[in-house]
């Protein structure tokens, strides 16, 4: 007999368009550059054209005297301001002093040297040209492996080996595993330097008025930034307000505290007028953090039947010249995730962090996990080739089983939940894998180069338990029912495009029985919102969501108490926006309850007036999303150009709150993954000049270069939080690049190609085809 299950009609789980989009697409949103204030001045920053040089002298006389210029500051003027902070700590980490303006030496092209403040931006820019800096140019090193070679120029003279830290981690018995292995495969794999390229560059406005300093900044972490900038400037934290207006993309590049944020605060206090600095695209490329920058040496040990035994990694991280907020921590995330989804019981990893005369690297979408995934997914393919096994089979054979969770990895993590075969099988079904391989064989016979590439990724997100996160890994939420029954949510996660104004409204509306229009989500102003950590590491919904959920549960207790008082009953429940007396069936709506709580004519015993609750949620663990991506490619034999014919992404990010937003995150992530796989690379020449200094040379994928992305999902809830959610902000990027590269290598493997480093430019591929053709 058929049973009908009536599912409550919830907003969570529905494809709902984003509440924030109308203002974003009609140009009515406010970004930092939209802020205008009476008396506002404009700052421009003089930056070093050299990657390494001593500053003999700086003459600012002409600039300071230029009509319209009100002040010029150099390193000497800001000596009292604290250094740009590094939040990561590792044993023996060497931390160079990172002053907000260069003192007597510059370390990378773009290093800030002086700031000009003028009536308008044109004058300030003109005056930059009038500053004379006498540089004694020094040899520079821009490549991490060259930096580690004997005799390389020292980036920081006090550490001539250019080593910022070394780090070792192992689990199980890696040496034994390799000794007993029947097969060992080795490969050098790089993850090139990338430029995050948020559509909105950074920008800061600062105003010092009546003893209070306010800084508007395009950042992902307003509260952390307030704490750290207050310390840098020696300003009491409670007299510093940080406001994050709309943020036009961050991708990790705004998960930072930058020199300019403190510098503008300093300037505003000095000149007593509001000041604005807007980063140009060129500055953005030179001075905002870059991502990736790995040279990895991998070894995989296995049995002939394809069972993996061990994985070894030597990782060289290009750090750049300084540590920004999390710079040295990023490669440690790669190590944590190096086993991927497989039963690697024996692993060992060594990291060498190398200083170079380049802008620092730091978190860029995926932060350490795309590198790890790229490594292990390439190695699984190399093993499959070595054993003449099918790449899907070898993955299925080695996956951690669905019944093995929570699973303790050899790198010390506890994977929360998973069913790794499920998305892979679904993806294989979608592409009709069996027939696809037949089609590939026919293509090959006809002389065409067609490839099928798999990537089964796992990632660590929902950062994270506080002991594992530099500045606390919890998140906060406040929920208020206003006297009229409208709901205000304040989240400490500072979403900047991810869509939590929508998903959090869905959660609150479901829980409180109101409509989404009744809910407003506020974030990004330290004067309004309780302390929070921010949005990064796919944590907005996965940590901020549960914080909201728990705040609402607290509030519901109060709602029920007021409801009971108003209904004069001791047996009431709250659902659908009503308190119901379970005996009489009488109801009182939320608005009436809220109104009564504020009028406070009468209060339930022991209750305070008002209807508000705040919750700081500490997650017990990370969450571990996973998925399978398949790329089908065809290569132009004559030119080496890659066409992605099909792209299938099956992602499992736990419980889905809004499929439309999840698809959006996957699409954006995959596009950035394709960017890394095929197009993007920050190129420094041997002298440390950034050759990809503008969008005319740094190739981010355009809409016309992106294939149709077939996105679908499996849903394996996380036990870590009551919503069952994981995170999806970075999944697309993490899963993508190995799928594309595996596909291209697969297309060329019969020509003797084993591996290609990214980006897979046509020329690189053409050279391999030409060489293979001869071989």
């Amino acid at each position: 007999m058929a049973t009908t299950i009536t599912k409550p009609d919830t907003l969570v789980g529905k494809r709902i368009k984003r509440k924030e989009d109308p203002r974003l697409i009609t140009g009515t949103a406010t970004y930092v550059d939209d802020i205008q204030m009476p008396g506002m001045h404009h700052a421009c920053i003089l930056r070093s054209p050299h990657a390494a040089a001593r500053i003999r002298s700086i003459n600012t006389h002409a600039a300071a005297g230029h009509p319209g210029v009100v002040a010029v500051f150099t390193g000497a003027d800001v000596a009292g301001v604290g250094p740009v902070p590094c939040g990561a700590s590792l044993p023996g980490l060497r931390v160079p002093h990172h002053s907000i303006l260069a003192k007597d030496r510059v370390y990378f092209v773009g290093h800030p040297v002086a700031v000009v403040v003028a009536r308008d931006r044109y004058i300030a820019t003109d005056a930059l040209d009038l500053i004379e800096v006498d540089y004694d140019v020094l040899p520079a090193v821009a490549d991490p492996e060259k930096a580690l070679a004997p005799g390389a120029p020292a980036v920081h003279p006090e550490w001539p080996d250019n080593i910022a830290f070394t780090y070792h981690q192992e689990g199980g018995e890696p040496d034994k595993a390799f000794a007993e292995a029947e097969v060992v495969v080795k490969q050098r794999i790089t993850s090139q330097r990338l430029i995050p390229t948020a559509m909105e560059t950074r920008g800061v406005v600062a105003e010092h008025r009546a003893g209070q300093l306010t800084i508007w900044s395009s950042t992902q972490i307003p509260h952390l930034m307030r704490t750290l900038v207050a310390m840098m400037l020696g300003v009491p934290e409670n007299l510093l307000r940080v406001v994050t207006p709309e943020v036009g993309g961050g991708f990790g590049s705004k998960l930072n505290v930058y020199a300019e944020e403190a510098l503008m605060g300093f300037v505003a206090m000095k000149i007593g007028k509001p000041v604005k600095w807007i980063e140009s695209r060129r500055e953005n490329y030179l001075c905002t953090i870059h991502g990736r920058g790995h040279v990895d040496y991998y070894e995989i040990a296995a049995r002939k039947d394809g069972t993996v035994l061990g994985l070894k990694l030597k990782l060289i991280q290009d750090l750049g010249a300084y540590h920004q907020l999390l710079t040295p921590a990023i490669p440690t995330l790669s190590v944590l995730m190096m086993p991927g989804l497989y039963r690697f019981r024996n692993v060992s990893a060594d990291i060498i962090g190398a200083f170079t005369n380049c802008v620092p690297t730091d978190a860029y979408r995926g932060a350490g996990r795309p590198e790890a995934t790229h490594g292990v997914e390439r190695m699984m393919d190399l093993l499959a080739v070595e054993l003449k096994a099918d790449p899907a089979e070898i993955r299925l054979k080695n996956f951690i089983g669905a019944d093995e969770f929570p699973y303790a990895t050899a790198t010390g993590l506890s994977y929360d939940s998973g069913d790794y075969a499920k998305p892979l099988k679904k993806a294989l079904d979608i592409v009709d894998y069996h027939h696809l391989r037949q089609e590939q064989a026919r293509a090959k016979a006809a002389g065409r180069l067609m490839g099928v590439g798999l990537s089964t990724y796992g990632e660590i997100c929902a950062f994270g338990p506080s002991p594992a996160t530099p500045a606390g890994g919890w998140e906060s939420a406040t929920v208020k029912v206003e006297p009229t029954g409208k709901v205000t949510v304040m989240t400490g996660a500072s979403p900047h495009g991810q869509g939590e104004e929508t998903t959090f409204a869905q959660i609150a509306a479901d829980e409180l029985g109101v409509t989404m229009d009744d809910v407003t989500v506020i974030h990004g102003d330290t004067a309004v919102v309780q302390y929070g950590i921010g949005t990064f590491g796919s944590r907005g919904t996965a940590v901020g969501g549960p914080a909201l959920y728990f705040a609402i549960q607290e509030l519901k207790k109060k709602i029920v108490k007021f409801g009971a008082m108003l209904l004069d009953s001791d047996d009431v429940s709250f659902s659908g926006g009503l308190c119901v007396c379970n005996k009489s069936g009488k109801t009182v709506p939320l608005a009436a309850i809220a109104g009564a709580s504020y009028r406070a004519m009468k209060l339930p015993a022991g209750e305070q007036p008002g209807m508000m609750a705040t919750y700081f949620w500490e997650p017990p663990n990370f969450a571990f999303p996973f998925g399978a991506h398949i790329a089908v490619t065809e290569i132009d034999r004559d030119t080496g150009q890659v066409a992605i014919k099909r792209y299938v992404a099956v992602d499992d990010c736990g419980k889905i709150i809004n499929p439309l937003l999840v698809d959006g995150q996957v699409h954006g992530g995959v596009v950035q993954g394709i960017g890394q796989a095929l197009y993007e690379q920050a190129v420094y020449d041997d002298n440390g000049q950034l050759l990809t200094g503008e969008l005319t040379d740094y190739a981010i994928p355009k809409a016309s270069m992106v294939p149709w992305i077939e996105s679908s999902h499996t849903e394996t809830p996380s036990p870590v939080n009551p919503l069952g959610v994981k995170g999806v902000g970075e999944a697309g990027t993490i899963g993508c690049s190995p799928a594309v590269v595996n596909s291209v290598v697969d297309a060329l493997s019969h020509l003797g190609v084993r591996h290609i480093d990214m980006p897979l430019t046509p020329e690189r591929i053409w050279k391999l085809i030409s060489a293979g053709g001869r071989a």
């Binding site: 931006r121 044109y122 820019t125 003109d126 140009s280 060129r282 004559d638 030119t639 150009q641 095929l678 197009y679 190129v683 050759l691 990809t692 503008e694 969008l695 005319t696 040379d697 740094y698 190739a699 981010i700 994928p701 355009k702 270069m705 430019t761 046509p762 020329e763 053409w766 050279k767």
Partner: protein
């Protein structure tokens, strides 16, 4: 970045424009798609911009005496979508459609592209293949030059200081001619790594190549080989021979030469398939 200050004039007649150009370091402003970015980066700092957008007679396409006269201020989009050009000089329309993106095509002009002489610009390949002419105006006079004589070198043309390029003249293609423009894109800028324009008629072929070297050129040796052998591969292989090829982070000289031969073959084959 933002530009240095400059004067801006929008003359209403050609004579006025020429007068404004005569003094000091003035520059013509057409679509601004090449000039403005250079000014914003402060690589260029002209003292005055003379905007041609309000000068009458510099836009539009008209047919006269077996030739098509295209005003210098005609945008890439207008060229791409012109019914007259599509029918009578399809190579130019096809080439225009390969330039940049929609925004660039809506602003950039054929005169600006020709005058700028960017070594990776698309138009020059086609203008050479159709044996275009350009008209140049100066105070009290006008002259007409073959485009091949006009284009001198990297960013260098026969334009004298104070001269304005007023139009481009292309012959009406005879019935039976087949054309094609094939371009490999530089993925960041959208400019050509290599672009090859081919035009065949009655067994003879003209090949214009851009992006390969410091300036666009006619591949004369390849044209000759084709005339003698009708062998597409042989002719295409000759396109890069003896050319000092460009090299940059996007493509080495060797690769560019190789791509030039491949794209020449593609352009030739496509043109042949459209010819009758």
């Amino acid at each position: 970045m933002i530009s240095q200050s400059f004067e801006y004039s929008a003359p209403r007649t050609l004579a006025e424009a020429l007068a404004l150009l005569a003094g000091g370091d003035a520059k013509v402003l057409a679509g601004g798609m090449s000039l403005i970015p250079m000014m914003k980066l402060r690589l260029a700092a002209p003292g005055r911009l003379v905007d041609l957008s309000r000068v009458p007679g510099l836009t539009g396409i008209r047919e006269q005496g077996g030739a098509l006269h295209i005003g210098a201020m005609t945008t890439h989009y207008e060229v791409e979508s012109s019914a007259v050009l599509r029918a009578k000089c399809p190579l130019l329309a096809e080439t225009a459609s390969a330039i940049g993106d929609v925004q660039v095509r809506n602003m950039g002009t054929i005169g600006g592209s020709a005058a700028h002489a960017d070594p990776a610009a698309d138009y020059p390949a086609a203008l050479l293949a159709v044996e275009a002419k350009v008209t140049l105006a100066r105070k009290g006079g006008e002259r007409t030059l073959a485009f091949s004589d006009f284009l001198i070198d990297t960013f260098t043309t026969a334009l004298e200081p104070g001269e304005i390029l007023t139009g481009v003249i292309v012959p009406v293609e005879p019935a039976g001619a087949g054309v094609s423009y094939q371009k490999m894109l530089q993925p960041a800028s959208g400019f050509a790594i290599v672009g090859v324009a081919a035009r065949v008629h009655n067994g003879s072929v003209r090949i214009g190549v851009t992006g390969l070297s410091g300036k666009a050129f006619r591949a004369a040796a390849a044209e000759k080989i084709f005339a003698e052998t009708r062998d597409v591969q042989k002719a295409a292989a000759a396109v890069p021979l003896g050319v000092e090829a460009n090299s940059d982070i996007h493509a080495s000289a060797d690769y560019r030469r190789h791509v030039a031969a491949v794209y020449a073959a593609r352009a030739l084959n496509a043109a042949l398939s459209r010819a009758s």
